[in-house]
């Protein structure tokens, strides 16, 4: 079977700083892969490379057996198939929730306004935000904002979803409502790459967990094996530190 997404020896540097030093992974359709690693290990950069927010220096990003990272290829049609949710939500503060959700479908896909808004309302209903359609982002709690951000990505019906530490900016009591949405997405069969500091969540939701270290995937295993008997010394040290800091 063809993988949904392949990264083949992806390399990326900022100036002389090598951030991704040959990352390769095959992600199957409907698979959920979690990425963990120290701060600054390149997790965000990896996700940004997948939807071409950062051009990669070398290697390939392949979706459905098509290399999307060929330099010069138009990127907008590719990006609309790959959704991304950010740590800081990145909602548009000058638009209400409904506009946030319907902007891209209308402008990019050419969907009519009424159709885009209907889809948006359905999505909001599904994520428990049915009554917040007219609110502006700064009138919402962090958890609600992040759920709106997820809904905004889903409004484009992406085939792959990239989640970059989507609960890191939230108060602890708001984390649950956002993770519930991710659980629901997994239930619906969404292919996802998830960067997270929530080890318990990674263990619960991921089909595979990757440990990113010095620009490479130092360890990749199913969650049970990853957390109970990691092979790489670095992974063990990382998990040890996470446990000591009380996050797992």
């Amino acid at each position: 079977m063809i993988p949904k997404l392949q990264l083949i020896d992806v390399r990326k540097s900022f100036g002389s700083r090598v951030v991704l030093d040959g990352v390769s992974i095959d992600v199957a359709d409907r698979e959920v892969v979690a990425f963990v690693g120290a701060s600054g290990s390149g997790k965000s950069t990896l996700l940004r490379c997948v939807n071409l927010l950062e051009p990669i220096d070398d290697g390939q990003v392949v979706v459905d057996d098509v290399d999307i990272s060929v330099p010069g290829l138009p990127v907008d049609p590719i990006r609309r198939r790959i959704g991304m949710v950010f740590q800081s939500f990145n909602l548009f503060p000058h638009m209400n929730v409904l506009k946030n959700l319907s902007l891209a479908p209308r402008k990019v896909l050419g969907v009519s306004r009424s159709e885009a808004e209907n889809t948006a309302r359905e999505l909001l209903e599904r994520l428990g935000l049915g009554d917040r359609a007219d609110a502006y982002p700064d009138q919402l709690s962090g958890g609600q904002q992040q759920r709106v951000a997820i809904a905004r990505s889903l409004a484009m019906s992406p085939e792959i979803l990239l989640l970059d530490e989507i609960t890191s900016a939230l108060d602890p009591e708001l984390v649950g409502e956002v993770l519930d949405v991710v659980r629901e997405l997994k239930g619906g069969g969404m292919t996802m790459l998830i960067v997270t500091h929530e080890m318990a969540f990674a263990r619960e939701i991921a089909d595979r967990v990757c440990f990113l270290h010095q620009g490479q995937i130092a360890e990749m295993a199913p969650p049970d094996k990853f957390f109970s008997s990691p092979e790489n010394e670095r992974t063990r040290q990382f998990l040890q530190r996470v446990i000591e800091s009380g996050r797992f």
Binding site: R48, N51, L53, D76, P77, R79, R80, I82, G83, M84, F86, S88, F89, N90, L91, F92, P93, H94, L103, A104, K107, V108, D138, A149, R152, S153, M156
Partner: protein, 295 residues
Amino acid sequence: MTDTVPGPSDRPGTVTSGRRQLTRRQEFERRQRRRSATIAAASTAIVVGALVIFVPLTPGWDKVRKSFFDGELFNDSFPRLLDAFVKNLQIFAWSTPFILLIGMLLAIFRNVRTPALFPLRLFAAAYTDIFRGVPVILTILLIGFGVPGLGLDRPYNSPYLWGSVALVLAYSAYVAEVFRAGIESVHESQRAGARSLGLSSSQTMRHVIVPQAVRRVIPPLMNDMVSLQKDVALVSLIGPIEILRQAGIDKSKFANFTPYVAAAVIFLVLTIPETRFVDWLTARERRRTSGTAVR
């Protein structure tokens, strides 16, 4: 810090009934406020009093009063000046849309990242550098005397036209810088959010960046507009009979400077409320943005 905005607790009516309910802190702040108000009033009275008493004692005061503050001449020339001021308002009104439009285009040109459009970027940079670097009055003189010298026919030799063009050139450069600062103040994450949804770079500019940028720069933009309103008077140098020119004519007729004072009054009646309004907008914007979390 003393708070000059009266809170609910220091309105006269509420104090008597609420005396007991004031916290120690509120009592203290109330005393402080009274004290600063007293000091401010006293020092103002002293300064104003000194001016009123001592200025008339100066040897030249009588002459100055006659040639700058002649009540009769003021009343005589005021309606003429008001009529002429309509010209200023007209020049202001038709120049403003062009200034805003060209300013915004220049700001967007300066932010284009496509290499093919690099010449646009260069052009915008040169344009703003040149017209911001030359005094407005020089731009007006050069355009106002230079272009009609080409021997154009009516109406293309009108000083109104070329005076306005000069103002548009100068002010669109100022306004472009204001818009550019606004565009650059929108955080990069907004661009990432928009691009990740598949919006193109121009769609991102149009629907996400520019609307936020414009909102943020409304106060400085209005400051520029207040300046423009005053600088319209500079076109008097190339011919149009607007308020400053009319005041000059009256001054020569009466050999008295009172018309200039009258013109100043007309400007102030307009610009003081405007600047106060801009201050109020700025303060509100600051309260609003410092009250919400950094995104």
